[in-house]
Each structure stands twice: as C-alpha cells, then as structure tokens.
C-alpha cells in the first residue's frame, strides 16, 4: 500500500491557508530568526504549526499535552535555529525534532513506545480480532476523518505511535525503527496490527451508530 503522502511528504509542509499571509520566503525567515527577529519566528510558526501540533495530538491523543509538546518543539527549534545550516530541508529538520520531543515525553511518562509483547502477542483486549471470513459489518464507503481520529485515539500507545509515524506522517519503517529504537520487522508488525485494530474500532463504531439509528 503506497503511502498517499509519499510524493513530497516532507517538502509539502506549507499550509495553503497560510501562504497568503506569509509571503516572506522560508529561507529569509530562517535567516532573520537567527538574528532574533520576532516576526520571522512567527512566520515560521504559522507555516508549520498545524503539522507539528497535529503530530503531537495524534501521538498523545490529548489536547493539553499536544499543545505543550508543540510549544516545546518550537522552542527547541528557535533555540537551535542558529545551528541550522540548510543541509536538509528545514521542514524535515523541524519535523524530526518534533517527533523526538514527543518520543522523549512518552518515555518520561514511562509509556512503552513500542512494546515487543504488544507487538508479538497483544492483549486480548488490544489485539485485532482474527475474524477470517466472519460475517461482520463491512467498512463500506469513505472513512470519516473524525471517526478515524477517534479510533486512532483509542489505539494502544504503541500501535498509535507507529501508525501515526507511518500512515499519517509518511515515515518509512527504517526511519521509524531508528527513531523509536525497534527493529524494522517490529515496526511492520506493529503497523499491521494497528491497522487491523483500527478496522475493528471503525466497524464497532459503525455498528453502534447503526444500532442507535434503528432504535431511534
């Protein structure tokens, strides 16, 4: 399944809504931010805030934590911006930095970023159901974004982490393995289980809705 963001996933961080209000080039904003220009900082923030914040929100499933982490990511960025030499895309740099901030936070909270047990065995509750050939509600039609967001929030942290990094943010398994500190195989396995679990959650959600509408 090729990732829909594979083409220019990193270079396409600019939010269309912001383009009109931030016509200053990113390169210029970076140079000015290095000199301590407040407005340049804000230009960079406006350009990347949605992507960074959404990443934090998806990975933590908590609005307050996500805001704190987005704030921390940008502060770290501004503290280190003088060292940015432009060898890599600024957005790639910022995004990787943001992922690291979130991972550090999760480690501090003692949440297993990737639990091998969870990956290979899973708990009864968390593991995807093995319902081969079962008659269940089909996941027909398009998947509503809000429904998917809720389902992602309901994933166990380990599954959620890999799913967000791979399917939402577009990182490859080898990159995820490096960032998270697991094997490539583990990342692949975790991702597959996350998708299966999501499928179950989405189906349950639809079945509940269907039941309610029938009752109503």
């Amino acid at each position: 399944m090729p990732h829909p963001n594979d083409c220019g996933r990193i270079s396409d961080l600019t939010e269309p809504r912001q383009q009109n209000s931030t016509e200053i080039s990113e390169a210029e904003a970076i140079e000015r931010a290095k000199l301590g220009d407040a407005e340049a900082f804000q230009v960079l923030y406006d350009k990347h805030k949605r992507r960074v914040y959404s990443l934090c929100l998806r990975m933590t499933a908590n609005t307050a934590e996500a805001e704190d982490l987005a704030q921390e990511a940008f502060l770290q960025l501004y503290r280190k911006i003088a060292t940015f030499r432009g060898e890599s895309a600024f957005s790639t740099w910022l995004h990787r930095l943001s992922v690291n901030v979130v991972l550090m936070h999760l480690r501090k909270k003692s949440l297993p970023v990737v639990s091998l047990e969870e990956t290979t065995q899973g708990t009864e509750e968390d593991s995807p159901r093995k319902d081969f050939g079962a008659d269940d509600v089909a996941l027909s039609g398009s998947i509503d974004r809000l429904q998917l967001q809720r389902a992602v929030n309901d994933l166990p942290p380990g599954y959620r982490m890999i799913f967000v990094l791979h399917d939402v943010e577009g990182y490859e398994h080898n990159e995820i393995a490096g960032m998270v500190g697991c094997s490539i195989g583990n990342s692949k396995s975790q991702l597959h289980k996350a998708r299966m679990k999501l499928r179950d959650l989405l189906k349950m959600n639809r079945a509940e809705k269907a039941g309610k509408s029938r009752a109503g």
Partner: protein, 214 residues
Amino acid sequence: MNCVELQQSLAEVEDASTWQQRAHLRTCPACAALVRELDQIVAAAAELQGADEPSPRVWNSIEIALRKEGLIRPQSRRSPLSSFGLRWGRAGWLLPALALLLLTVGLYLRQQFYPAGLPQEASFSRQDSISQPRVAVANSGGLEDEDLMQEVAANAPSMRPQYEENLRRVNESIRDLQSAADESPNDQEARRALMDAYQQKSMLFDMAMEQSLP
C-alpha cells in the same frame, strides 16, 4: 495460502502484491474485503496530517518564553507596517530614505500652514489633531486608497494583496489612534502615534507612486 497466512503476510508485504497473495485474494472475498478496507484506512490516515490547529495560547506562550530567554529582540511598539520591510526584501532600503523625505516635506508643509510664532500647543487643538495628519496624506497627491490600488494593480499586480493588507492595517491603526486622540485631545503620545500612522500611509502611497516596486 490460506486466510491466516494471508493476513500474516500483509505485515511484510502490505500491498498484497505477491503472486501467492493475489491468488488467494482472487478466491476469497472476505480477505479481498479486508485488504480493501485496510487500503481505505491508509488513504484516510493521510488526511489527518496537519488537520488540527493549535490554540493561540501556544504561540503566546512561545513568544513569552522567547522573550524571557532573550532569543528575540525587544520591539518598542508593534507598527501597523512592522512586517513591511521584512516582506519588501531588496526594496527595504527605500523605507528610511522615504521616511526622511516625508519628514522634510511634512516640516515644510507645517511651516506653510502654521505661521511662525504660533504656540505649539495651539496648533494641536482637537480639530487640528484631526486635520493636520490629512495634510500628510494630501502630500501624496490627494490620492485615495482606490487610486493606490489601481496604481499597484497596473505596475505590480502580484504585490496587490500585500498592499491591500498593509493598507487595511494602517487604516485600522489610524482609526484606532484617531479615536484615542479624540477622546484625549491633550494626549501628546496619541497624536504623535497618529502622525506616525499617517506618515506610514503616506509612505505606502509614495512607494507605489514612485514605482519603487521590485
């Protein structure tokens, strides 16, 4: 390959592209549906990227922290055109030159309108505090905002949104400062700020009229 093996293989070959996977999917509608649904999830997941907007609290906290840490230069007052120079790039050097020119013209006009010896305070009556800045605008050839936008549209259409935004900001600022000056006619600071705002507007006109557009 059976259903269990198919599902296990999807972790390694997620696009179900091996011949064994394809062969099984041709004969098993349930597994074919499973693969389709996983594809749907992957496609929908990409839409979650950058989907949420942080609250303004985040930037406020960042700005406060940056100031505390001394990472950003202190700014005395946020000008309505504070972003102007930043966005003008190579033409930015024109700003100080134009400001100087305007100041000279403004002083000259002031001398023409107010005879020598008139007490300084008298020239800043409530009425004058409103009318005097308009002299500065009239200095730009008595042009209206629409004239400016037409000029910009003719000379540099790509700059039009930027001009519109700057014009909107400076007009807002003038309105606010005018109200403040009306409420407190003796407030020298309010009058000075109002004059500054009119000068900035005048500068905007001059830059367009003198074809200093990049």
